[in-house]
Every structure is written in C-alpha cells, then in structure tokens.
Amino acid sequence: MNNIANIISISIGAVFINNFILSKFLGLCPFFGVSKKLSSATGMGMAVVFVMAIASSFTWVINRFILIPYDVAYLQTIIFILVIAALVQLVEMALQKYSPSLYEALGIYLPLITTNCAVLGVALINTGVNTFTGEPYTFFESLLNGVMSGVGFMLALLLMAGLREKLEFSNIPKGLEGLPIAFITAGLMALSFLGFAGLNFFSPVGG
C-alpha cells in the first residue's frame, strides 16, 4: 500500500503539483517555441519524456556510485550537463539511423533539449530527498520522477498548443498578437495550476 501511495504521490506531484513549466518555470523556451502546432508539440513532448527518463536513470547512477562516494556532490551540475548533452547526441544519432521519420519530425528540437533546463532540473531534483518517504530517491523513484516530469511537461505543452491553435482564430488586439498573448495565456495557466499546490493525497510517513 505504501509503495503504491509512493508511486501515486511522485506521479501526481511531478505532473500536476510541481509541474515543470507551470509551477517551477523551467524549460520555458521550448514551451513557447514549439507550442504553435499540436503535432510538433506532441513530438517535442515525447522527446522530452524520453530524454528525461534516460537522463534521470544515468545521472542517478553517476550521482550514487561516483559523486557521493568520492564526496564531490558539488560537481553535480557540470557532470549532469555533460552526461545529458552526450546522451542527447547519442539519441539523435540513433534516431537518424533507425527512425529517420521521427528524426525529421523532431528536427531542431532534439538538440535543443540538450540545453533544456527542465532536463537538468529533474536530474538535480533526483539527487534530493523524496518528500513522501523522507529518504533519498531510489533508482526506480528517480526514473519514475523523470518520466512523470516529462509527462507533466508534455501536458503543459499540449494544453498550450491546443489553446494557441484556437487563439489563431480569435479576435486579439493587434498589439497582443503572437507571443504576447501566449505569455498572458501561460500566466493564466500557471495561476490555475497553482490550485494543485495544496494537494496532498497521502500524508508522508510520520507527517
């Protein structure tokens, strides 16, 4: 029971309560850049989920078995950037080789994920403490956190893309057309996601 509660807590937490875009304000560049069309937003969302999952698992292993034992945890940021950049390169090469159509569809966005702070964000959060168990994230938990953070990113991206496709046809004051109205929309979405902030399904152990 506790295990399931833990999974649900991490999932809901990553997707809604601590949504990367709308609560933590990380990864805003692709959020505005790729949210013009629903189809490309889906592709970008999938790519982020994929990269976040791989990045969380690899960085967890490096953190746990290299950085912590040698007492160099302060190198987390630089090492994680290194690992994530290399991983994305690798994924890009593999995609170009084995799935050219997906490679074409993701286009410029795949290399952009390299510098996406949301991916680095999830890796750094995984080095912290799981608020539900009150202990450091296990490998499985950090993987789950990575995937669910990606899902949350994708959710925000899809919501935004859907709204922006509708916005194209609405009567917007001329000075607000394009990016300005997207910023306002994003702000309103962030406000509504604030409603999840108090959500706490299962009280943490001992809390």
Binding site: D71, V72, L82, A86, L90, M93, Q96
Partner: protein, 336 residues
C-alpha cells in the same frame, strides 16, 4: 592532492562519454548527400514554395536526387540556377525571369463604388459578401490579400487603393497570383514593361459608366499591333508576350489608358543626316506630328511627342533612325 579527485572524475567521465560518442558516430553513421546543404546555401531560403516543394530544403533534396531541375527555383533566378548547376556539374537552362502585375488600375479616383465595405479587411472576405464593394466585378479590391501573401514584400497598396507590384523586388514566385480572389494578377516576362491594367469583360458602354480607365473593348490596340500579338478574347485584349512586340503603340493608342507602362521615360527616335526625306517613317508613326519634314529633306523627330515605339527604325531604307536616351532597347525595339 584533494583537487585530483574531481579532476580525475570529471576528466574520466568526459573521456568516457567522448569515446562513446566517437564510437557511436562511426557505428550509427548515416550517409547524407553532402550536396544537399551546399545547394541549400545557394538557395534564397525564403521557403516560398514556388518550386512546388515544401520549402527550400525539400527542393534541395529533390535537386540532389535528380527529381527536380536546377532552374526550379523561380525567386533565385538564373544566378541560383547556375550556382546549383555548377554544384551538380550539369548545365542549367535559365528560365526567363518573370514578375507579377495587377491587371487593374481603377482606384478610388477612377472606379465607382456601389457600397461601403466595413468588414474584415481582406479581399477574400469582401468577395464573399456580395463580391466586393466596387461596381466593377473584376476590379482590384485593394484590401491587401496579395500583399500579405508576398514573401518578398514586393506588393503594396498604392495611394489610389490599388495593389501595385514593385518590379525591383518581385521575384515572380506567383504566390500573389494564387492568393487573389479576383484572379487579376498574372506573371509576365520581366523584360516586358507594358501590360493591360484591366480585367473587365463587360461591354464598353457599361464599363464607361463606372470606371474611367476600364477597357471598353474598342480593339484599337489590336489594330495598332500588326504583329498580331494582341487578340480579343471575350471583350478583353490578350497580350502574347512570346511574340516580338513591345506593345508601346498599343498602349499609346488606348483611348481609356488601360495600359500601364512601367518605364517612366522611354528612349526617343532620332533621325541623323543619312535621312533622304522619303517620308516612310511618317506613315508608320502612330503619333500625329511626331515626325515632320518636307519630302526630300531631312526629317525631324519631336522629342516631346515621340513615344519610342521603334516602328520607324526598321522601315527606314537608309538606316538613319536610332533610339536615343534612357530605356530598354534590345528586346524592346521591334524586330518587324
């Protein structure tokens, strides 16, 4: 010595990742035609779609694969076609550069309106509602649908409320031709500077009532063009630009001034001392009183009246007439 630990860790992780990527780039190597990015470099990269592909990269790929001709890029023109041909090692036949023209000049001053249009400022929207506010059913609405379609910023709505193409900027991509709901924009060869600025097919008496520059189908231009380059089609002259014809006489003869000449100042005829005063030039000159002179004596051209049509050039038996001054000569001068 403490500093060695992070050095070794970061260094070894970096080296490991670099090695991994190096191996991966060999193992996962995908052969990409190196000519594609090279072709893409010489293309205008405006992604206008005039070539029929979804953007410049699509065209570059098709050219590299031999599916498209090197001269397929219309905005790039001959320069681009040659650059691509050089890359591919083939010879390119350059397409004659074209430009768009708007076949209407009946603006606020000339053409009567039958209603006031206050709706969405777009020609398509205006066409849906009662086919626009002008009485003329073929006139330019001047709401700028073509302006917005132009990727090169070459069309503008002039002071008279009529769309006008800047010949300097126009690349002949043809996007405006497709965008116009009235279908009154077409492409003409860039060397030709004269076109019929009217698309109305109504009868003359009717046209006169609502547009002072409308074509009345008087056929004077057809009669003024012995080369047969102008034919009447359903009350509207059709100009055949493939024939050797400069249309200057036709434009001059038009009583409603429907023709637009993009050349502001044409070169004028000049008769030199070789003139033997045969008077043949006076018979072919469309402007009364532009060439004067007594029989047997050297004739003179009135530079104010001469329209530079070049009719007299080749009729002169002593080759005494040449075109002087600004303007385009080689292709414009008629080779009758």
């Amino acid at each position: 010595m403490e500093i060695l630990i992070p050095l070794i860790i970061v260094g070894s992780i970096g080296a490991f990742l670099g090695l991994g990527l190096g191996i991966a780039s060999k193992k996962l190597f995908v052969h990409v035609d190196p000519r594609i990015p090279m072709i893409l470099d010489v293309l205008p990269n405006a992604n206008c779609g005039a070539c029929g592909y979804a953007g410049c990269s699509g065209f570059a790929k098709a050219v590299a694969e031999g599916k498209a001709a090197p001269n397929g890029c219309i905005p790039g023109g001959a320069k681009c076609a040659h650059a691509i041909a050089d890359l591919l090692g083939v010879t390119a036949s350059a397409e004659e550069p074209q430009m768009a023209v708007v076949h209407c000049k009946g603006g606020r001053k000339e053409a009567a309106e039958r209603a006031i249009y206050n709706g969405i400022q777009d020609c398509n929207a205006a066409t849906i509602i009662g086919n626009g506010s002008k009485i003329c059913q073929n006139g330019c609405l001047g709401l700028g649908t073509c302006v917005r379609s132009c990727p090169f910023d070459a069309i503008f709505i002039n002071d008279n409320g009529i769309a006008e193409v800047d010949p300097e900027k126009c690349t002949g991509c043809g996007k405006c031709v497709k965008s116009c709901p009235r279908k009154i924009i077409s492409l003409i060869p860039k060397v030709h500077k004269i076109f019929l600025a009217c698309s109305n097919r109504d009868r003359g008496a009717k046209v006169k009532k609502y547009c002072s520059v409308g074509c009345t189908a008087c056929t004077l231009c057809v009669k003024a063009t012995p080369s047969g380059a102008i034919t009447m089609d359903n009350n509207l002259p059709v100009l055949d630009y493939s024939k050797e014809e400069n249309f200057i006489t036709a434009a001059y003869k038009c009583p409603s001034k429907c023709y637009t000449d993009l050349v502001k100042k044409r070169s004028k005829a000049n008769i030199d001392t070789n003139c033997d005063g045969c008077g043949l030039c006076i018979t072919v000159c469309p402007v009364p009183g532009a060439i004067t002179g007594e029989k047997g004596k050297r004739h003179v051209v009135d530079k104010e009246k001469c329209i530079g049509c070049g009719n007299c050039l080749h009729i002169c038996p002593t080759h005494a007439i040449t075109l002087w001054g600004t303007g385009l000569q080689p292709k414009q001068a008629r080779m009758a």
